[in-house]
């Protein structure tokens, strides 16, 4: 809290100080039952004349969880803060010198970390070359009661960037290094990179980025033990290429190719328990995405593409090494006819295969196929009535190759249709109607001819009606009613799938709300809602062909609250939301709780 007040104070002081100050301030607070969250950040940049500039950044987070979550009692606080301040002086057009201080603070119960870094900095910059350097002191304090650990060291960071041509057409070469000499946990790394920004070549465009990084870092692998140190050696490669080429018949081709390689090698001392040891591993990714697009004016666009991805994971063990390959085709067509109609069609089909390198049928060797098709249609009947129809199909098929897991092979199909209508018969009335029908079929490949309990169908239908009574541009009153039906049961195969319902659930939800703007910058939105839900179980026996339906659960839920948005100016706003919920299950005790959030953003 002290940090929060300090951050606000700094912001206000700097704001009052000068017009040449840029400030960003953000404050968030939320309460949800026993959990309280605070998050705030402030950034201040101030110039003192043309030579001297000052930057300050602070980000703080705090979470309080009341004692009941953790049975052993006591409130649980977790706090984090990262604060930095930098002062630089421009000596001439090419050279700036300065000093910076950074502190990182992290505390959770008996565990505490404070890391400090004080550096002297220099920035040398010409049109062809830039060199950033900083050197200074590090000191860190760790505590996990009753143990503690303090260490100090030196730090040096440097980054060299070279542009062979002022126009940038040859790209930029960079080399960056970072080294610290902390007594127990030193670290060093070096990164070389080359970046070619989008370069036009006779109407086509290419861009490229390549990076190679080596690092070595020592760290404490166990929270409560500062005697044992582990070493992580890292090698990373990144190659990313992007090209756009115009083909005949006004077809545009996009090609993205990426190769990523990560190698992590761990070395532990004998005292470290096996349980927390990470395995050394090497992973690589190769991916390309080829896409063709053709536009006919602004109204019709057709695109189709192919995606290939290959990943290799090597954890040094036959049981866990794995290769995955994905092939996927996508197609999209978007059409707009006049101003009153539009249609979008999308399709996607793909397969991902997971394979162990040693044998083709090794435990989790599997294929996963996906098929997606969707259509969205919009039609405006006249100035007062418009409609929207959205339909989609998603099919997933999971296939394990090994007999030890192939009993899990299943097909999961989802069908959705979602029509809606908006009708404005008069300036002061707007009617909204929405329907949604959802069906999810799941069946297991090797149980298709049985009355398996695992082959199921879930169906859901939502229906919602709303009337907006628009009194003026400042006041709108809304009445909503929604109804939801769900049922679930076994799927039985008798030449075709048939459903035997196990349960059904019906939910009614009326809601009243008001949207009031006493002044244009303030929105006040109170609401109240009531929900009633009844669940029924279905019982079948050999004597009762239709089965019996009995009430199994009843729920009533009330909610009342408001939402407030206050735009203080074009660059700042304040949001607040307070809601009280009361829910009562027939089989459980009554529950009452409040939810409160507060958000503030301000730019100067």
């Amino acid at each position: 809290m002290i940090r929060l007040i300090l951050a606000i104070a700094v912001g206000i002081v700097c704001y009052a100080f000068s017009e040449a100050t840029a400030i960003y301030l953000s404050l968030d607070f939320a309460v949800d039952r026993q959990t309280y969250d605070w998050a705030d950040s402030i950034s201040v940049s101030r110039d003192f004349g043309k030579q001297i500039s000052f930057d300050f950044h602070n980000r703080s987070q705090a979470t309080l969880i009341k004692e009941s979550v953790f049975g052993q009692g006591g409130d649980r606080w977790q706090r984090f803060a990262n604060t930095s301040a930098t002062l630089t002086r421009r000596l001439n057009d090419k050279l700036r010198l300065g000093a910076s201080f950074n502190q990182r603070f992290d505390r959770l119960e008996q565990k505490r970390f404070i890391g400090n870094r004080f550096l002297l900095t220099s920035i040398y910059q010409t049109s062809l070359i830039s060199v950033d350097q900083s050197a200074g002191l590090l000191w860190e304090e760790r505590r996990f009661e009753p143990r503690e650990n303090n260490q100090t060291g030196l730090s040096y960071q440097a980054e060299l960037r070279f542009n062979p041509a002022r126009s940038g057409r040859w790209g930029a070469i960079g080399v960056a290094g970072d080294i610290n000499t902390l007594q127990q946990t030193p670290a060093r790394e070096i990164t070389a990179s080359y970046e070619l920004p989008p370069l036009a070549l006779a109407g086509d465009t290419i861009s490229l980025r390549a990076e190679q990084r080596y690092a070595q870092q020592k760290y404490y692998p166990s929270s409560g033990n500062f005697e044992s140190v582990a070493v992580q050696n890292t090698e990373q490669r990144r190659w990313d290429f992007e090209g756009v080429k115009q083909l005949p018949a006004e077809v545009r081709m996009n090609l993205d190719v990426a190769y990523h390689y990560d190698s992590y090698d761990y070395d532990y001392e004998d005292a470290t328990t096996d349980f927390i040891r990470q395995n050394s591993n090497v992973t690589s990714l190769f991916q390309y995405h080829l896409d063709f697009q053709r536009d006919w004016g602004e109204n019709i666009s057709v695109a189709s593409g192919y995606l290939f991805t290959r990943t290799n994971e090597d954890y040094g063990s036959d049981q866990t090494n794995q290769r995955a390959e994905t092939g996927q085709i996508t197609a999209t067509a978007t059409m707009r006819f006049w101003d009153s109609d539009s249609l979008q069609l999308t399709g996607r089909i793909g397969v991902t295969s997971y394979t162990a390198p040693t044998t083709s049928a090794y435990f989790a060797d599997r294929d996963r196929s996906i098929k997606v098709a969707s259509a969205s249609l919009y039609h405006r009947f006249n100035d007062y009535l418009s409609g929207y129809l959205d339909g989609s199909y998603r099919g997933f098929h999971t296939i394990y190759l090994s007999g030890s897991l192939s009993a899990n092979n299943n097909v999961n199909n989802v069908y959705i249709i979602n029509p809606s209508l908006v009708w404005e018969p008069w300036n002061h009335i707007r009617l909204r109607q929405n329907y949604q029908m959802h069906a999810n079929y799941i069946y297991y490949e090797y149980e298709r001819n049985e009355t398996s309990e695992r082959n199921t169908l879930y169906r859901r239908a939502n229906f919602s009606n709303a009337i907006d009574l628009i009194y003026s541009s400042r006041l709108t009153f809304s009445v909503e009613y929604s109804y939801r039906y769900e049922d679930f049961g076994r799927l039985i195969w008798q030449d075709q799938w048939k459903q035997q319902v196990s349960w059904d659930r019906r939910t009614h939800r009326p809601r009243l709300s008001l949207e009031y703007r006493p002044v244009p910058s303030l929105l006040f939105n109170p609401f109240v809602s009531y929900e009633s839900q009844k669940s029924y179980d279905h019982y079948f026996s050999e004597t009762e062909a239709l089965g019996a339906r009995r009430l199994s659960e009843k729920l009533e839920r009330n909610s009342v609250g408001f939402f407030l948005k206050w735009s203080l100016s074009h660059n700042s706003y304040l949001d607040a939301q307070l809601e009280r919920r009361v829910q009562d299950y027939a089989s459980q005790r009554r529950l009452e709780y409040d939810v409160f959030t507060l958000t503030m953003r301000r730019y100067w």
């Binding site: 949800d32 039952r33 026993q34 009941s68 979550v69 953790f70 049975g71 052993q72 649980r76 977790q78 992290d106 959770l108 008996q110 006779a202 760290y219 166990s222 929270s223 080429k245 090609l255 349980f275 390309y288 192919y306 290939f308 994971e313 954890y315 049981q319 866990t320 794995q322 994905t326 092939g327 397969v351 295969s353 435990f363 989790a364 294929d367 989609s392 998603r394 296939i399 394990y400 190759l401 090994s402 007999g403 030890s404 897991l405 192939s406 009993a407 899990n408 299943n410 989802v414 959705i416 949604q436 959802h438 999810n440 090797y446 695992r454 679930f488 939800r509 929900e531 005790r589 529950l591």
Partner: protein, 192 residues
Amino acid sequence: MMRFVTAIALALLIMSCAKNPFSVRDSEPPTEQAGTFIPPTSPQIALENLRFAYTEFVISNFIQTLDSDFVFIFDFVQSIPADSGWGFEQEVSLSDNLFNDFNANKNSKSLSLRFDPVIDQPDLIEDTTATLVRNYTITISDSQGQLVESISGVSRFELIEASFQFWAIRRWEDFHDPGTTSSWADFKNAYR
């Protein structure tokens, strides 16, 4: 000439690295019992499926308990980089790694997972969102049934019911028990 070179380069790329998106491989007939997956028509069933996936080591059932925007957040883990969590892809990758390890060593080690409700933390279930808080205990035993490792802590699960799917875990927060150095996050982190 440039077009010819581009066409040849593309043809070589596709011929050397391509996968047929229309065909899948054949499987062997089942030799063992199937894992347990109950269509998660309520948030509690989604957690039950998570428990089954963790004890039966069926990765496809585990993936079905996660939302595609899933995040895992921990209070602290001693690792490099010093991050605070990970997303869907990494959760699937490390769980696949973990399940394969236990599947391959079924004869020498086993895992059991237990969820218990937390006092004064009843399940909060809204229309399409839910929050469930659970005490958990993970027990790893050897082939003789002797305890090798026991991990306990508290997990807070936020679930959503998307328009095209059942209930799935969107956010999973892991908390150490007071005074302990290892939690579920530490156990998972070893398989990252």
